[in-house]
């Protein structure tokens, strides 16, 4: 979870919800299969996680509470701060793909989360957007990954996505 940039007195936070490492990640395996079918054969493993971008006059403690009590299943999942602004060069062995709905596209899951936050007393949440992150292990090329993502994990008509080198 990290505070990105304050805007009009409101803040924007990103929360990432990951499956604990000892659980089988079906979504990640599905994504790996798709990448393989598009020729990214060097990808060895994909782990998927859910991203939430919360905007509003929330404190960091409130976002922690939201992550713990609403967004995360404490048995199988863990939440963490995500900081997307410090790419670490690692010989292209780890990649992070993020897929988000474009701002002009309605995000029903985000809307539902926002309503749920309000119900738990966090009415200051103005908007919530939901995305998916894929952590790819394996020596891949950026171009190759970007092409494959546009043809499988994201539809450029409604999604924006990023492919970045990632720390482990």
């Amino acid at each position: 979870m990290s505070e990105i940039k304050p805007r009009n007195g409101a803040s924007s936070y990103q929360v990432e919800i990951k499956l604990r490492p000892d659980y089988t990640d079906a979504e990640g395996q599905g994504a790996l299969g798709l990448l393989h079918s598009l020729g990214v054969n060097t990808a060895r493993e994909v782990r998927a996680s859910r991203l939430y971008e919360l905007r509003g006059a929330l404190t960091s403690a409130q976002v922690q509470q939201a992550a713990r009590e609403l967004l995360c299943d404490p048995v199988t999942q863990e939440f963490r701060m995500f900081n997307g602004h410090t790419p670490v060069l690692n010989g292209m062995n780890h990649w992070r793909i993020e897929v988000w709905l474009k701002p002009s596209v309605t995000d029903p899951v985000g809307d539902t989360v926002r309503a749920a936050l309000e119900e738990m007393g966090l009415a200051a949440a103005e908007s919530v957007r939901v995305g998916t992150a894929y952590h790819v292990t394996g020596k891949c090329g950026r171009n190759q990954l970007e092409k494959a993502v546009a043809r499988s994990l994201a539809n450029p008509v409604i999604h924006r996505f990023t492919v970045t080198e990632a720390p482990l």
């Binding site: 709905l101 701002p103 002009s104 309605t106 499988s152």
Partner: protein, 810 residues
Amino acid sequence: MTVAAPEKELKTVEKPKVFAFNALSLKDLKALSAESLWSFNEAELLAIQAHFKAQRREPRAAEVETLAQTWSEHCKHKTFTGPIRYNDGKKTRLIKNLFDETIAKATKQVAKPWCLSVFKDNAGVVAFGKKWALAYKVETHNHPCAVEPYGGAETGVGGVVRDILGVGLGAKPVLNTDIFCFAPPAYEGPLPEGTLAPLRTLRSVVAGVRDYGNRMGIPTAAGGIWFDADYRLNPLVFVGTVGVLPVWAVKKEIKPGDLIVTVGGRTGRDGLHGATFSSANLTDEAPASAVQIGHAINEKRALDALLCARDRKLYRAVTDCGAGGFSSAVGEMADGLGARVRLENAKLKASDLKPWEIWLSESQERMVLAVPPKNLKALEAVFSAEGCELSVIGEFVKSGRLVVTFKDETVVDLDLKFLHKGLPRVERTAVWDVPKPSSKGAVTKLKLAEILQRCLAHLNVCSRETIIRQYDHEVQGGTVIKPLQGVRHDGPGDACVIWPHAATGDMEDLSGFAVSHGLNPEYGKTDPYRMALACADEALRNLLCVGADVSRAAFLDNFCWASPEDPHQLGRLVRAAEGARDAAIGFGVPFISGKDSFYNQSKDVNGKDLPIPGTLLISAVAPVPDVSKALTMDIKGPGNALYLLGWTSEELCGSLYNEVCGLSGGSVPEVEVRSALDGYRAVGSAIAKGLVLSAHDLSEGGLAAALSEMCFSGEFGAAIDLDDVARSGSIYSNEALLFSESPSRVLLEVKPENEAAFLKCAKGATVKRIGETIANPILKVRGLDGLVVLEEPLSALKTAWQRTLPEAME
């Protein structure tokens, strides 16, 4: 409170744009129309210009947009209801209105008193018992699914469910259906930029249908898929919903003074100009999004609240917001009356929407009600209990005009007569190119066992279990005959049977209904007329096989075609429509609802237009008087007689046999309506008396494929003798007897002690005993020469049938 306060203050109130329209030349008008994505034709542009010249004023932007929506192919069905000069290959005649002269004519001529509402409302409605009625609608959502298959499929399902919510005073959805036409998943040819790979479209559409239906708690239990490479640029997605409503709720009537109330989701920029296929320049900054994302939970809330309000009689009419949003929903409801709309009262997703955007937005999950003012308080309580928003955006008035304002600004002020009746008709030309009679081609060297395996493994026949299992087909607890049947619950059923009384509360009532489909674009490539007859026949036959009362069946038509501006394509459409008419009149089955989708053609990588094969989906629904007597298709035991209903001729054009053997030619299967109907009546009475153990229709792959499916689903073998098959004199090969796709044939399993009674019932119909079931799990066929020509273990046949789709979807 008569008018709800605006939820969000709009920041900027733009003056409605006014066009300098009246002075434009035709050329400039056409350029403006193209640029604004209105898709008006010349006559329409001139009619609009003349209308506003007579009014001595320029049209406002939202007025032209409203006309564009209301006069669109989607809403007015210009092709089907416009005049067509048709050359049938011999002479030319003028068809004034193709719809009136084919589909509607059949319904009129068949004249069934149990048709409670046909073609007028959001869905067709037939009586179901004394107190209840069934509403059925099938929609297409082709273009959205081509651009964003998951969202397109979701909103397609959401839209057709809302059609059922918006029929009469609202029906409770009890079944969803889905039929897809895609390119084979393994298609590897070149695709133009922006076209999604067929496998991706297939996966995402299935996921969209699954998620929306499952989340709303509606079983998805009937459907089909057809694969043909010519759907690669224009995939077809048909979605249908059946609902149950009380007979008193079939009629709606709006009175002047009724409030215009919107319920469900909020209004955003979703789907503005959604009808336009191109979305290439849709960027982060794009102000409008042609793509919509569904919100099943919102729709479920609206559903629950709406049905509660219906039973308390709190509103007088309801309709859904589909294409064109408020403009089309309010415009339609106000027809013959008048409406006064205040857009500042609409609840919005974003605060900076312009008035015309609010008026035309296609945001999902919205319904419009006509509410007597005294009921508003009670209605608000019902909706707020479900966490569902409601806003009053105006009232119906007796002015004959549609007046829409945003605060002090007039956005639309249109004469409703011009809006609904002012559309000029443009005559189109249609030519039917009579196909040259083609003789049967070469003979195949393939062995019968090999041909059979290839037929069963073919994409258009193989098991759909991978897809069906993703859908919840059990929710609501009324799915009596399920899509997958047999001892291992994996055989291909002909139709599903639904017992909807968990929704009506009449728990002692054992009546239900069956739903089935007929579709075969391959026949249509040679003869669309015979294709239409074959589709209707197949849908009816499928109903018969589960024990439905086919004398009470009703049809729905869905035509998906290429450009009607191409006279040859239009000629094929006329042929298909005439086939549908003759099938309906011949079988005595009325059409109750339908929809068409045109311009399903796109430029391929070489810039050449690729039209889809002309596609007609016939959906059928019929009551099942007692669901405890419904049938499945799997063989029930050894030592039972196998009877074949119907006559076999050598009809292999467009058949699966031709395709898997690489052959062509022959004649397209032709339905003999009168004898087919005699057969269905006879077999129907035998089934009703409980004399039949299992029944399965013969379609793609003919007798061999149908018998294989019955055997491996029931895990009992069969031994048949082809010499016992009732056949035309010209047929002389085992191949033709096994694989011909002559229509109107059904395979039946009958217990030996019931054979005499069965034959008594079947008197007058062509029913022949062709063999019996055996305990040994093999399929054994004796040929015309008396020798065994085929002997295959069921396990090999089943493996071939099951393997294809999971492998293709890997």
